[in-house]
Amino acid sequence: MPRASVWLIRSALVCLALGFTLGALMLGGKGLGWTAELPRAIPAHVELVVTGWMIQLAMGVALWILPRFGVRGPARREAWGWLAWGLLNSGIAMVVLGQAFAGRLCELAAILAFAGGVWSRVRASGLSAM
């Protein structure tokens, strides 16, 4: 597994643990009848679980598993993956801390870096009948 994938997937696991912790606090609070403060934490919970956990995990696994044989040039380098990891996690942190606009811009840049890096790897590998 490439190092950038390791960092993306481990960061996704951290976001899973943080997102579930926040979710459990909100659900437990609902059980205790503390409903007034709960909705304020929902955007951070959704951000951690959807972008931090699911999207980031998908990016890490894709970077690991898409065909690399015969690929030359920029897609061969891991720099795109590192850039995507740095921008994505900066964006997630900003959104969780309430800076949604700047955070979403970082996340968009992360996705562009990721998509640019893997674009030429989405092709027949030569090893699969499909």
């Binding site: 597994m1 490439p2 390791v6 979710g23």
Partner: protein
Amino acid sequence: MPPLSRWYVKTALIYLVLALLLGVLLAGGALARLPPVLALAGPAQIHLFVVGWLTQLIFGIAYWMFPKASAEHPRGNDLTAILTYVLLNAGLLARAVGEPWQAFHPGVLPGALLLASAAMQWAAGVGFAAATWPRVRGR
């Protein structure tokens, strides 16, 4: 595919069907009057979909496909993995029952069910992250 992954994936498929069925019923609220307790099941429906289907499917596939932890224990501690599956699903079912119940008729019993659900789902999420961590490593 190991037996636990099969359980994860098949359970995930069942949750997908349940979540979409509940979604159809909730959407039907625009056409007919729903029982009040069902009308309050919106958050539970989202979690049946996101936790029961998506997260559970990921857990099952990751348990199967991620690099081996060791030759003796390729998928890590089997007991932790089974416990994660049980806690995730028991917690999710407790939520599916307790959340609309607490919203419709708040009380000690539905409140306790939600507390138990929160604890079980938290333990499942953190347990999965901890168990998977050593299997995510470089070449």
